[in-house]
């Protein structure tokens, strides 16, 4: 599995760290315990196309949003996702 980094070109996946599904968004401070529980623990665990976050730690150190098929490992698109790994609160 090679990921085509938009800044560095195609690189093998060992250069990247995986954060996981890009969909969960950190809830706001007043969202309540159930929302935090869902954000931290529950996953769609998609079988098929999934948007996910990878960090190019072995290269340009950019956060990337990768659309990948979890059944075939086919990578459909790679886009910069600056700041995606920071624990920012959803506005």
């Amino acid at each position: 599995m090679r990921i085509a980094c938009p800044f560095c070109g195609p690189r093998e996946n060992s250069e990247f760290s995986y954060l996981g599904d890009a969909k969960p968004k950190r809830p706001g401070p007043d969202a309540g315990e159930d929302a935090v529980y869902e954000y931290v623990y529950l996953r769609d665990n998609v079988a098929g196309e999934m948007a996910e976050l990878w960090y190019h730690g072995g290269g340009c150190r950019a956060w990337l949003q990768v659309r990948r098929n979890t059944v075939t490992h086919e990578i459909l698109s790679v886009e910069p996702a600056a700041g995606a790994g920071a624990a920012s609160v959803t506005p």
Binding site: M1, E12, N13, S14, Y18, G20, D21, E33, D34, Y37, E38, V40, Y41, L42, R43, D44, N45, V46, A47, M50, E52, R68, T70, V71, T72, H73
Partner: protein
């Protein structure tokens, strides 16, 4: 049929050509008291214990492929009970005790071989951690021995003891640990469950649940028709989220791929199971002579049942650091299995919020050794509607309650467990 020295002698007279089937190829009936989804080790063990210990014999095991074609046929066959935390430790020891009597219980040779599991340590801090783990085991009545380097050298003199970065200082040994023949475990449970009246239905994929007006699960739609059920238990680790989604449930689970490897055959070399403490590499030797080994999961969500090259390289580097003598050994086979990675690294065996639906999931990559106890406690839950005494902490809502069983202390990041 019952296997014995007499059945063997009888079959020998006809040149072993007339052995009957080990289990019936059952046709689905319209309704069962309990339907188990998933014909792996856990599902079949559950059906066996329902029939053998709880008197519920009107049971079907539904398998979308052939039995044992998922993770039961893809693991590295290790059995052990060297856990640390309350909740896990008693459960895995229950499992070890069931392994020890499995062949008599099932009337089937599952080749359980208690050849020992040795976890090596490479630093003072790691020795202290293993001493703590060993003490936790012994307090709970489980065998554990902390070995120094000299004792390890006596057992396995060919290891790289003087590795400059990771010298081997000793190991934690559980002598009762070892290996079992994974396919025979599946066939043994199928054999024993079938003899007690359980229907094992292969090539039967569940496509949805049928539910009544109150939302209670009343059965399943399958590729072989509708099957009614008093209760439905799912034992489909790897695909738990997909099956649960049919009942509108989201689980604290991600599916990840774990690879395993077998080398070409060697003369007897490795006496038991060994693990490298400074990386992630575990190895045993099969009865055919091949080294069976593995390491970390690949680390990204996957349902592909195959992994990628960087992990192969990483695993083989771990092997080389531990025992450089394998440097010219060739890999014979390599494969991947899909793991239910739970958010704390421990399993889930519980009722679900959906009436009539029960879940057995989240085995991470520790499912094989748990097979017998998983079957027993899940059967208990299905039969009695309450958790078995050794499985009271494997609740689905433990994440919401903050009652995680996080053996590695990694938090809610499944690819690190």
């Amino acid at each position: 049929m019952k296997y014995s020295i007499f059945s063997l002698a009888r079959a020998a007279l006809s040149g072993h050509r007339n052995w009957p089937r080990t289990w019936r190829d059952a046709e689905p009936k319209p309704r069962y008291d309990v339907v188990i989804i998933g014909g792996g080790g856990h599902g079949l063990a559950t059906a066996y214990h329902l029939a053998a210990d709880y008197g519920i014999t009107n049971v079907a095991v539904l398998e979308k492929g052939w039995i044992g074609s998922g993770n039961a046929g893809r693991n590295t066959t290790i059995i052990r009970s060297n856990y640390l935390l309350p909740g896990n430790i008693g459960f895995y020891e229950l499992s070890m005790k069931l392994w020890e009597r499995m062949e008599q219980d099932l009337n089937y040779n599952t080749m359980v071989s208690q050849r020992g599991v040795l976890n090596l340590y490479h630093s003072d801090a790691q020795r202290d951690a293993y001493a703590r783990r060993g003490n936790a085991m012994r307090i709970n009545g489980i065998d554990a021995e902390l070995l120094d380097a000299a004792a390890v050298r006596k057992m396995v003199p060919f290891l790289n003891f003087d590795n400059a970065r990771f010298p081997i200082q000793g190991g934690l040994l559980q002598r009762r640990g070892g290996t079992a023949r994974h396919d025979a475990v599946v066939w043994g449970y199928a054999h024993a469950a079938d003899r007690r009246g359980v229907d094992i239905i292969q090539n039967c994929e569940v496509t949805s649940f049928t539910r009544d007006a109150g939302g209670r699960v009343t059965g399943v739609e399958t590729t072989r028709g509708t099957i009614g059920a008093g209760k439905v238990g799912m034992a489909v680790a790897g695909s738990s989220s997909r099956v649960a989604a049919m009942a509108d449930l989201r689980l604290p689970i991600e599916s990840h791929v774990l690879q395993a490897f077998v080398s070409e055959g060697l003369k007897p070399l490795i006496p038991g199971v060994m693990t490298f403490g400074a990386g992630h590499f575990y190895v045993s030797q099969s009865d055919k002579g091949g080294l069976v080994f593995g390491g970390d999961i690949d680390g990204y969500n996957s349902y592909a049942q195959r992994g990628n090259m960087p992990v192969m390289e990483d695993v083989c580097e771990g092997g080389m650091a531990l025992m450089p003598l394998i440097g010219r050994l060739r890999l014979l086979r390599q494969w991947g299995g899909i793991m239910d990675m739970s958010m704390d690294g421990s399993p889930i065996i519980d009722r679900t919020p959906v009436d009539g639906l029960f879940i057995n999931a989240g085995w991470c990559y520790g499912g094989f050794k748990a097979t017998p106890a998983s079957g027993l406690v899940f059967a208990h839950l299905l039969a009695r509607n309450e958790p078995h005494a050794e499985a009271t902490r494997f609740r689905l809502d433990r994440f919401q309650r903050g009652a995680m069983i996080d053996e590695k202390g990694q938090g809610a990041q499944p690819n690190l467990h």
